[in-house]
């Protein structure tokens, strides 16, 4: 059993990194608790896979420590770390049968054959691979192959964590869902720490209890899917989570008002105060499309907008509008009355969040 701690971890593929841009992973601290189901979410190239390879030992971090239960394992090769990893493209041993594939890690550890067989049969049963055990692994379909690579991680009794590196990329959509459920089932059954790398927020939130969002080599937020949606700690999280992402406005404090360009914004006194006392000029207000109300008539706290288009997406409509030459998205509930080109937007003050230097400072208050 292992709790995985990353302490002051940083990694660069350069020998002598010059600036922050040379780092694939920037200085970070993080703890993955034993038995958790975690997702590591972020766009391509944000360092997710690098981080995963550092945890499994395929890469040695250039700075900081990786601790398993408080023990420094930086120099331990993957074969000594009790960790399994499933890769983006299924890795199977072509010439072996499915049975031999599953037995491979056990046989490499010189497990006696009478203990190999029951273990392989058990894992094959869980993964529904039993009818395929005698088949050559080479001739399986992509999802069967990926199940075999997962199975190789599960047969070992000593595995305390399984790392998944976008394991469902090559799987058909309807099978993806099935395999994801299988993963959850396995997680509940075996009490294994699972870290799941993906760039798909839906995949992350259906699989994981907690999601770490990575951006430019850093974990910018670690929380439940709900927390990520409701209180994005970083503008990137707001933009990346949710569909469409959060709207952001670069604002400044002028003449006792919070100004978005030439447009004064109606915000709470509290927010106004926070903007006025900001320590940086990089001030942004964020609001999710779900919390922008559109109406045809002006009201006390509304701002005039120019409607560009309305897209009917079935259960809701997506409205695109312009305010101060910037494009915004708003979600209209089903059955919302049609809006004219010149309309008014009302930002729900309880859901306007303040970001300074891209990090959340003030969430909206009820």
């Amino acid at each position: 059993m292992a709790e995985i701690t990353l302490k002051g971890l940083a990694h660069s593929y350069e020998k002598t990194p010059k600036g922050a841009a040379d780092y694939a992973i920037r200085q970070m601290d993080h703890v993955w608790h034993q038995g958790g189901a975690y997702a590591l979410l972020g766009p391509s190239g944000c360092g997710k896979s690098t981080l995963l390879n550092i945890i499994s030992g395929l890469l040695e971090p250039s700075e900081g420590d990786v601790l398993f239960d408080g023990q420094r394992v930086n120099e331990l090769p993957p074969e000594e770390r009790n960790i399994a990893q499933v890769f983006q493209f299924p890795v199977i041993y072509d010439t072996m049968t499915v049975f031999d594939n599953l037995a491979f890690p056990l046989r490499n550890m010189n497990t006696p054959e009478y203990r190999v067989k029951p273990k392989v049969l058990e894992v094959a049963d869980i993964l529904e691979l039993t009818p395929l055990l005698d088949r050559k692994a080479k001739n399986l379909t992509a999802d069967e192959k990926q199940k075999v690579s997962m199975g190789r991680g599960l047969v070992r009794d000593d595995v305390t964590a399984i790392l998944f590196d976008e394991p469902l990329t090559v799987i058909d959509p309807q099978l993806k869902w099935k395999l994801r459920r299988k993963l959850k089932e396995i997680h509940e059954r075996f009490n294994i720490t699972m870290i799941y790398v993906t760039h798909d927020q839906l995949e992350a939130s259906t699989f994981a209890d907690k999601i770490a969002v990575m951006y430019e080599g850093q974990v910018v937020q670690f929380g439940t899917p709900r927390e990520l949606f409701e209180h994005p700690a970083h503008t990137f999280v707001g933009y990346f989570i949710g569909s469409p992402g959060m709207n952001f406005m670069a604002v400044e404090h002028r003449d006792g008002q919070v100004m978005f360009g030439a447009q004064p914004l109606p915000v709470s006194e509290h927010m106004k105060h926070a903007v006025a006392n900001a320590s940086s000029a990089n001030i942004k207000l964020g609001i999710r499309p779900e919390f922008i109300a559109i109406s045809s008539s002006s009201s006390a706290n509304s701002v005039p907008i120019q409607v560009i288009s309305v897209q009917d997406l079935g259960t809701y409509s997506l409205l695109t509008f312009k305010l101060n030459e910037q494009t915004f998205k708003a979600r209209l509930p089903e059955g919302h009355s049609p809006v004219s080109e010149a309309a008014f937007a009302h930002f729900d003050a309880a859901h306007v969040a303040l970001y300074i230097d891209e990090y959340l400072v003030e969430a909206g208050h009820e």
Partner: protein, 295 residues
């Protein structure tokens, strides 16, 4: 439903290809077939002999001996070059300037024409001025390729290994380079030994290039001509006379068109047969024995 317009002009499009193949393969081959069933005595004097030439060729002691030598030669060089090529490919540097340098060095023998290779080794093995011949003599080793059949064989095999192992190594090297890094990573996580990585990842992934390498090397070595001809002239005696040299002597030296045509066809069919059997066997090995067997 049938609304196809009958139009046989499409055949015209096939014609150029047909002509090309006819002139490059079919007509020459048919000429040989034609000769193989006739006894040509002069420009206007020939008569039909049926399978007579084939029978006499198959029963010819000298040719049978040459055939056995040929088979042994091919098997020996395959047994050496394939493992050696794999071994070289495995230890070749993977990246950086070293990789380029080694690649160039290793390709050099492949760029040398056959008869030049023969000449190089002919000089190399001379007892008076050749480095190897002289060196061995100075070391007190009896070595003479013009007198000792064993020495001649060893030298020819050495020469062929030197000339052609690079081809096998390069094919294997390209095969190895195409294995995704994830396989090696997964193997480390599965705690596979170096041998297991070779046996279960590298070797299976090399199967296809190895099939090509074996076929190329087999066909090539089975037709070998210029190198042994220049090096030993087929001697001492007929110890290193291979099939192609026997054929040349018969067809060009003695102008025995009928027998040599029959001989060529047998020669061709043997190569075809061996290659086909080998290829089919390998491809069958990759199939499932019981496609839908249960556990």
């Amino acid at each position: 439903m049938n609304n196809k317009v009958p139009n046989n002009r499409a055949w015209l499009l096939v014609l150029p290809m047909l002509l090309l193949v006819a002139f490059s393969a079919i007509i020459p081959l048919m000429t040989v077939v034609n000769y193989s069933v006739q006894d040509v005595l002069g420009p206007n004097a020939s008569f039909f002999t049926g399978t007579e030439w084939f029978k006499s060729m198959l029963n010819d002691d000298a040719l049978q001996a040459a055939f056995l030598r040929q088979i042994s030669f091919s098997l020996i060089i395959l047994a050496i070059q394939i493992p050696l090529g794999i071994g070289i490919a495995l230890i070749m540097p993977k990246r950086g300037w070293q990789a380029s340098a080694v690649l160039i060095l290793i390709t050099l023998p492949l760029l040398i024409p056959w008869n030049v290779v023969g000449s190089i080794w002919q000089i190399f093995t001379r007892g008076d001025i050749g480095l190897m011949g002289w060196g061995l003599r100075e070391l007190g080793v009896e070595y003479n390729i013009t007198r000792n059949a064993g020495d001649a064989w060893v030298t020819i095999i050495l020469m062929d290994v030197w000339h052609w192992t690079p081809l096998v190594a390069m094919l294997c090297y390209s095969g190895l380079r195409s294995i995704p890094e994830a396989y090696y990573q997964a193997a480390r996580i599965d705690r596979a030994s170096k041998w297991a990585v070779f046996r279960y990842i590298q070797l299976p992934k090399l199967t296809n290039v190895l099939v090509i390498a074996v076929l190329l090397r087999f066909m090539h070595s089975f037709m070998i001509y210029a190198e042994p001809f220049v090096l030993t002239g087929g001697g001492p005696g007929s110890a290193t006379t291979f099939l192609s040299q026997s054929l040349t002597t018969m067809a060009v030296g003695q102008q025995d068109l009928g027998p040599s045509a029959a001989f060529s066809l047998i020669y061709f069919l043997v190569i075809l047969l061996v290659s086909w059997v080998f290829y089919t066997t390998i491809m069958n090995m990759q199939k499932d024995k019981s496609p839908h067997g249960g556990a």
